[in-house]
Symmetry: C2
């Protein structure tokens, strides 16, 4: 009977500021049955990503959020158990943004849902890579850096949350493009790893007394590209060091996670923008989904040539999902945050 149970996390309340153990509640539901054209997967890894904070807020987002009592949204990868679709058979590996925080998921391969249902080749890379560097975070780094940042050899790039799922890739891709790369993170072990994988300089935003001065010192020619995953005080320090015609990719705002619904007050930089003729670009990877194959093919090729180091932070069991998400929000993870199910 136990194998007929599907444990799943439902949204219990909209968090004020940081989410907590009160934010979700676990439900034991019957294992779902796939309908015509659908497949059932047993989830092997669930992804834990900063965008999820936006899904549990009543404020306007770029897509429909989770209602109270609904299954928490999220991506995952797993093994097909039952297939009612001609192209899928038991044992195939499927990845989707539409899995949700649960042990079993019914997916509809022919639906046009965001990101669709993707077939994963387990011979290419460990299947959880489809949730990190060979998936959405990889595409985020690829399109944000190349298409918005437009790196040129000799540019100085700063990336915040440098050892995270996106930051680690941005830094390495920028190095390959000939940039000087500076990483900002909040723990010395994270920064030591960034240095190991090729970053030219690193800054600890928690221990640094004068963050603006530290950025200036690490970037004597100013900052040409700022790939910002955090917003907040790190953003402010880098904005004061922009070079002329700098490009700021505003990819995330995890430093504001505890301010949900409240305005983010602080210094504004309109004068800096005009004087430097810099630009700030709000970035969402979903706008680039039509070029998914291009990004993943290139990233896989770079990895084959030994060009990409990656790091994951894995917790075990569906019961770990809230804790994994809070780790991410508080920067306690080191690398791509994942949860492994079913041992």
């Amino acid at each position: 009977m136990a194998q007929d149970v599907n444990r799943r996390w439902l949204l219990a309340e909209y968090p004020q500021g940081m989410p907590s153990t009160q934010t979700w509640r676990m439900e034991e539901a019957p294992r779902p049955e796939p309908g015509p054209g659908q497949i059932l997967i047993r989830v092997r890894y669930l992804s834990v990503d900063p965008y999820m904070r936006g899904r549990i807020s009543p404020a306007r987002g770029y897509t429909k959020g989770v209602e109270i009592g609904e299954l928490m949204q999220g991506g995952g990868v797993g093994e097909v158990v039952t297939s009612n679709h001609p192209d899928w058979k038991p044992g195939d590996i499927a990845e989707s943004m539409g899995v949700g925080w649960q042990e079993y998921a019914v997916l509809t391969p022919d639906s046009d849902g965001r990101g669709g249902v993707n077939r994963i080749d387990p011979a290419l890379a460990p299947i959880q890579s489809s949730l990190s560097w060979l998936g959405m975070p990889g595409m985020t780094a690829y399109f944000g850096l190349y298409d918005v940042g437009r790196p040129r050899p000799g540019d100085t790039l700063v990336v915040s949350a440098a050892s995270g799922a996106v930051g680690q890739l941005v830094g390495q891709l920028a190095k390959q493009a000939g940039c000087r790369v500076v990483g900002i993170a909040g723990r010395d072990d994270k920064l030591a790893w960034c240095s190991e994988i090729g970053f030219d300089a690193v800054i600890n935003h928690r221990s640094e007394q004068d963050l603006t001065g530290a950025v200036a010192k690490a970037c004597p020619q100013g900052v040409d590209i700022f790939f910002d995953n955090t917003a907040g005080p790190i953003h402010d320090a880098v904005m004061k060091n922009l070079a002329n015609h700098a490009r700021v990719i505003q990819c995330g705002r995890i430093a504001l996670a505890d301010k949900a619904g409240q305005p983010d007050m602080g210094e504004r930089f309109m004068g800096h923008l005009i004087v430097t003729r810099a630009s700030i670009h709000g970035f969402l990877v979903f706008d680039w989904w039509h070029r998914r194959d291009e990004a993943l093919t290139r990233l896989a090729a770079l990895a084959r040539e030994g060009g990409i180091a990656t790091r994951e932070d894995v917790l075990d069991g569906i019961e770990s999902m809230p804790e994994a998400f809070m780790r991410l929000m508080e920067g306690r993870n080191f690398g791509k945050q994942l949860v492994r199910l079913g041992g």
Copy 2:
């Protein structure tokens, strides 16, 4: 003897916040003599522009500012009195950004100074047009709107300082490009004129209690292009109404004129930028100077076809320069602010 005198305004002190009558002092200097390759002009109109605020600040700007005791920088247009240059003869009309706040100016046509020395055809338009719609403000509207804003028919455009030298052109050019145009200004007579020349809706930012709500009402589909000449509270209200993929041209920041040297504190909009995938572009017309002829040729053609209404605000006499500049800073001007010399 009086005609040998050149009255000129020197910077007396860096203003804290708004400039005042203490900011400059007038000097009576001998009329200058042109050297080899130079021309002497008698100035007919001096331009008064928001960028001048940045030139009298010790803070980093995009170009060298005015030192204490130096001639105040500014553009002007006048008639050649003496020429030591083969291409110029007495009576020709010359325009330059390098005139300064004075009655006579020596210019060097072959120098590569910013903007150079431009020959003005008085048959084409009144010569002071070379300081407004057929000059730098015209280029600002042209390149900022077309190249950065990238208007499409059906876009909603909001422009602040809507009746000003740049704003009045942005609105009309955007209408011709098929946009719905909303103007923001601080006086009802300015807004009435904007409506007359074709703006679809207008908002008075001084009398409106709920500026964010007023923008929302005037822009039911959101704001696709925001041509911002002011920064400050108007910027904030429009940022909360951006449509997806909106482009913000950050052209000016006149609302911050009294904050020189102090940070501009307030709400930041990183979340709005990400959700909407909007971008903010710091804009300086000097980056587009190599395309000056293109812009002015097109603007002249539009005017010939009856497509451009313009409005000037003219004070008389070199002694009016500080007052003219303060009018502009405080929004008391109505249209392009000019000072006419020599009656």
